[in-house]
């Protein structure tokens, strides 16, 4: 069935674009949405997740476990960065931009010196999905579904835990939250660590599909920023809506005009959306 094949092809591609956009953007969105901080080293956090996943995988831990290790390692690293660097710069957007940009350069070079140009690769698991004349990488399907799972997990963290409630309160009104006993310093520290865990998990999930290099973060930084810009400050709905709508643009565009066409469509759409909706998708869903 050629029609079924075409639909499958479209859906799988959409799922993989959606997964890439959502995974690349989620950690950045959490940190930006809650703390108002733009982490320019976000790509390098993804890289750290990928490297630590690869090291754990090389040590014999199965991939799923290795990805968890990658997420936790990146989270621990994020915690250190927050304590040493970020917390001194709350509410100073430009300062954090410059500081995290500097951090990204340092991280890239440090990894280059420590591990050299390329690093142990992880084979793509799960093999091939086959239906009639159509075949696709099973892992890409899993990747898209995992992205959905991470959204669900993030949603649960923000709605079901004390930390999540306090983070949302601090995001909406920091002074009032403090006046009600919320230790916003601690909330921000946990937020940065949580965002880092998400970036690390994304890095671990990307690791089998890509080549690990110190500069690999730059491959995801466009996707991450585009998703967050289009999504706006609403961490969950904004990011999810952005990844889905951008995926819906990129999928047919890249089918019709190739990879370059898909990329161009992505950027043009972003420009149009911020023209029409300066606050991104969040501006639509959270008008109160």
């Amino acid at each position: 069935m050629a029609v079924v094949e075409s639909i499958l092809r479209f859906l799988v591609l959409l799922l993989s674009f959606f997964g890439t956009l959502a995974l690349a953007g989620l950690g950045l969105a959490v940190i930006f949405g809650i703390m108002g901080i733009i982490n320019f080293a976000h790509g390098e956090f993804i890289m750290i997740g990928a490297y630590s996943t690869s090291i754990a995988y090389g040590a014999g831990i199965p991939l799923a476990g290795a990805i968890v290790v990658g997420g936790l390692t990146t989270g621990a690293f994020g915690l250190v960065v927050e304590r040493l660097l970020i917390r001194h710069m709350y509410d100073r957007l430009i300062d954090t931009l410059v500081a995290t940009w500097g951090l990204s350069l340092i991280l890239t070079q440090a990894v280059q010196i420590q591990f050299g140009g390329t690093f142990g690769s992880i084979p793509v698991p799960f093999g091939t999905f086959q239906y009639a004349g159509f075949s696709a990488s099973m892992y890409k399907i899993v990747l898209g579904l995992t992205a959905l799972g991470l959204f669900a997990g993030t949603y649960a963290v923000f709605t079901q835990t004390t930390y999540g409630l306090q983070a949302r309160a601090a995001m909406q009104n920091k002074e009032m939250a403090r006046s009600l006993g919320v230790d916003t310093g601690r909330t921000y520290m946990l937020t940065f660590a949580f965002g880092s865990v998400l970036s690390g998990i994304a890095g671990g999930l990307f690791a089998p599909l890509t080549v690990l290099t110190p500069t690999m973060g730059s491959e995801y930084i466009v996707e991450a920023f585009v998703t967050v810009i289009v999504g706006g400050t609403n961490v969950l709905i904004g990011t999810f809506g952005a990844a889905l709508s951008l995926g819906l643009i990129q999928t047919p565009a890249s089918q019709l005009f190739g990879t370059l066409g898909g990329r161009v469509a992505l950027l043009v759409t972003t420009i149009l959306i911020i023209r029409v909706l300066p606050e991104g998708i969040s501006g639509v869903v959270t008008s109160d």
Partner: protein, 234 residues
């Protein structure tokens, strides 16, 4: 016994001093109000007590301990509940979530008073799962009061609870504040321009003028609306 004590407190915004040598004392179980004209420094005093402003000099003592160097979150956890002038409920949290944020006020409380609050404010019970930002001004004010009380604070700070609220609701809030004072023993300190609210609720009243406490009206004077009027007319 004194619960809150201010001794020669000076505070302001940046380099602009607003409060000059404020000294006052609030005893456990009292309901005390502060009246004064617009711009006299009422809200500034409230913010200085909760810690959103740092005094440039002077001593703040709460339950016998100096709190002048504490952060707002620390003061809240010691047992001060704060209702700011503009309500400042969290608009994108539900009513119940707003209350949950307040439960860490007074960290020594044994349990949060969710059900009690819903009993005092039945309208909040009806709207438990509604986003707080979608409610009316009066309902938001009730939520702000309930949120500050849910952790059973020792001291409740109310900054102009009647502002922008319909008279019937003003009366309701006034009644509930007195009930809570009676039932739970919460000490109340509030700032008001609304005469009725002040007269109905308060036991003792400080008068502030251009950043200085100029008078303290005992309960008898409070019944004399002429006296009160003089201090708060704009």
């Amino acid at each position: 016994m004194s619960l809150l004590e201010l001794d020669a407190v000076n505070a302001g915004y940046g380099r602009t001093p607003v409060l000059h040598d404020i000294s006052m004392e609030i005893h456990e179980g009292e309901i005390v109000s502060l009246i004064g004209r617009n711009g006299a420094g009422k809200s500034t005093l409230m913010k200085t007590i909760i810690g959103l402003l740092t005094p440039t000099s002077g001593e703040l003592t709460f339950a016998g301990e100096s709190i002048g160097d504490d952060s707002p979150e620390r003061r809240a956890r010691r047992g001060i509940g704060y209702v700011p002038q503009d309500k400042e409920i969290f608009p994108r949290l539900t009513v119940h979530e707003n209350l949950k944020v307040g439960r860490f006020v007074n960290e020594t409380n044994e349990r949060a008073l969710f059900e009690e609050m819903y009993d005092y404010f039945p309208i909040l019970d009806e709207r438990r799962n509604q986003k707080a930002g979608t409610m009316s001004g009066g309902e938001q004010q009730m939520l702000a009061v309930a949120r500050a009380l849910v952790g059973a604070p020792d001291l409740l700070l109310l900054d102009e609870p009647s502002e922008g609220v319909q008279p019937t609701i003003v009366e309701e809030i006034s009644d509930i504040v007195q009930e809570i004072n009676r039932d739970i023993g919460t000490t109340v300190f509030f700032v008001e321009q609304n005469l009725d609210f002040t007269i109905n609720t308060t036991e003792r009243c400080y008068v502030i003028e251009t950043g200085e406490l100029v008078n303290e009206l005992p309960p008898d004077d409070l019944r004399d609306s002429e006296v009160v009027q003089r201090h708060i007319t704009v």
